[in-house]
Symmetry: C2
Subunit: 351 residues, 2 copies
DNA sequence: CGTTTTTCCGTAAACGTTTACGAGAACACA
DNA sequence: TGTGTTCTCGTAAACGTTTACGGAAAAACG
């Protein structure tokens, strides 16, 4: 048992207190507060005033229990193992957009942290089974994603940041166009005279890594350049991973003149490896990063990267989730929306 | 109204289902599940098995309502305005530690986002008044902190990352020793021959800025160096702030040979300003940053900075919060603990 | 004035738990 | 056998809401 938060009687003016104070029934109070039609205008005003005066606001557990809805959306924030130093600054602007839009519909956003590494399955079950949220938002989707399988199986509403092959098209999803970014990156490098272009991506079967590589391959073929497997490498999605795997492509028979990293942390680790081998990004080799973060901007040389519009994406995904929920959808009923957003090239000094 | 999450009847096996399935009363089921003594060992096992089989887990709203406790702790995450690009990577390792320790005591951590800029007061009220958490955790404490005033006034349990003058010593707090860091930074610079040392800190009355300046001043005096007000500047706690305010100290009558920044984002902005003035950190001027982040490491030149042990701090603050709650305190009863943790110097290339 | 409609409000059930209380059964003990 | 103790469980109330239902009073209408 836990202490009653704040002492139930100091803070907690219940609807009964309010009713007693006004000499009316709790039913009427509730109806007044919830804006129902069948309550006299005067009465409503009196209730509203008293609520403000007594500092009343409804107990969330009570509401949730009665209504079967928590009025909150859970975002599953999952730190990658070994990512401690770096964190997920990626998500903050995204979360700001998310929270802003949800608040407009009276929903709370709660970010639920998982322990690094367990890929959320356990935390997710917990959120769902104890009904702590009305819907969840997933990120870092994988090609085959057990979380998506689980949620669709139990019929819990959700939306994803990122696509997946799991679960069909039954849930809203918003993703970045990693395929186009990979392709654009290659185009740009080819235009600058490169033919030996390496690609480094995370080794988990994260879907964006897959998409990126698709784009990379297609673009190379389009330019009549053979795809050389020795120029493609997978590594852990963190700095150590980039550091570890970059030498592998450098030591290929015919050394690449450019590397595209699919992740900023990996790029940073990769640049460290390059430095140790005496290879200078921007001089001896071109480096491009697919998802831009502040780190890319401040690194030296500043890394050319593809930038997402995180805050608008957050807003939009919230909107898409709402549109899929019967209770929030417009008159035409719930809709499942899928969108793919572009990444914008930010040319800097590393290529 | 919102859709009953997942459809109440698909997911939700209630305790009644379980009881019916086992042909015993819900009371017994509950007692068995909660490990109470007055239930037969066989019965308990049967209940546990059935619970697993039927995938039962108690409805959180029901529990909370009955117990007057939500079994969750809220961390108020507050993005600073204009901080969109940068985010709060600072907090991620901290949150990991926090969540780890709380989970060990069966508590959930929910991060509640506020809109940038409103300093949380509204969100905080909402969390407290609707009783969405059993306690809250505050960060970015200010010298006079209305959030702390509010929480102490209404008697809601909380702890803070950072100190404040508000609320006395009535709540657990964990802070970094910014005073010592400021002092150490000066010591180090003086030892390296600097006498004209500037200090740049956030303009909000954030408490750490105050502490930092204290340490800075004391150390200067200790070394017999006069504190020159024209070498001290305040700015918005973001990159733009640093960029805007740094020239002010540079253009002082007697140009400083070193700058201590009290915030990494401000340092980055400051370095940009320096670059535009043709002043190279590490060559023409020494730069020290008080709170280290990955950005400091990757910047060029890599910035000498003072580093906190974020993840252990998160664990520890969770522990301190628990120790202050009657329901979780040991047999000796609740204790209010205050701790101040050191920052560790990481010498790099900028000084 | 009688009848119908409308307006407004109180009553009570329900949401899913936990837990105080009491009672029956089994057991121990003299 | 009678009495007291221990185990084990069922009953029912309570947590704070929302809402279906019905009814009294007021208003409208003929």
């Amino acid at each position: 048992m836990i202490a009653k938060a704040g002492g139930r009687n100091s803070l907690a003016s219940s609807i009964h207190d309010l009713a007693r104070h006004l000499n009316i029934s709790i039913g009427t109070v509730s109806r007044a507060l919830n804006g129902r039609a069948d309550v006299n205008a005067d009465t409503r005003q009196r209730v509203l005033d008293a609520a403000k005066k007594l500092n009343y606001s409804p107990n969330q557990s009570g509401r949730s229990l009665r209504q079967g809805a928590t009025h909150s959306i859970a975002f599953m924030l999952q730190p990658h193992p070994g990512d401690q130093q770096y964190g997920e600054p990626f998500f903050i602007p995204f979360l700001i957009g998310l929270q802003g839009r949800l608040a407009e519909s009276g929903l709370d956003l709660t970010v639920v942290m998982g322990a690094p590494g367990d890929y959320q399955q356990e935390r997710l079950r917990r959120v769902v089974e104890t009904r702590r949220a009305d819907a969840v938002l997933l990120a870092w989707t994988r090609r085959e994603d057990e979380r998506i399988d689980y949620l669709t199986q139990v019929g819990f509403p959700f939306a994803t940041l990122g696509r997946s092959r799991s679960g069909g098209k039954a849930y809203p999803s918003l993703d970045l166009d990693f395929e186009k970014a990979g392709s654009d990156a290659v185009d740009r490098l080819v235009a600058r005279g490169h033919r030996r272009i390496a690609a480094i991506r995370p080794s988990l079967n994260l879907n964006f890594g897959h998409l990126f590589l698709n784009g990379y391959r297609k673009a190379l073929k389009r330019h009549g350049i053979e795809v050389d497997p020795s120029l493609i490498a997978d590594g852990f999605i963190n700095e150590a991973g980039g550091y570890q795997v970059t030498p592998r492509v450098i030591l290929a028979k015919d050394r690449p003149t450019a590397i595209i990293f699919n992740n900023d942390a990996m790029a940073l680790g990769g640049c460290k490896a390059l430095a140790e081998m005496g290879i200078r990004p921007g001089h001896d080799i071109a480096v491009t990063v697919i998802v831009d973060t502040p780190l890319c901007r401040y690194f030296s040389p500043a890394l050319t990267a593809f930038r997402p519009a995180l805050e608008p994406m957050g807003r939009r995904l919230a909107e898409m989730l709402l549109a899929s929920l019967p209770a929030f959808a417009g008159p035409e009923g719930p809709r499942i929306i899928h969108e793919v957003w572009p990444l914008e090239l930010v040319a800097r000094d590393s290529d």
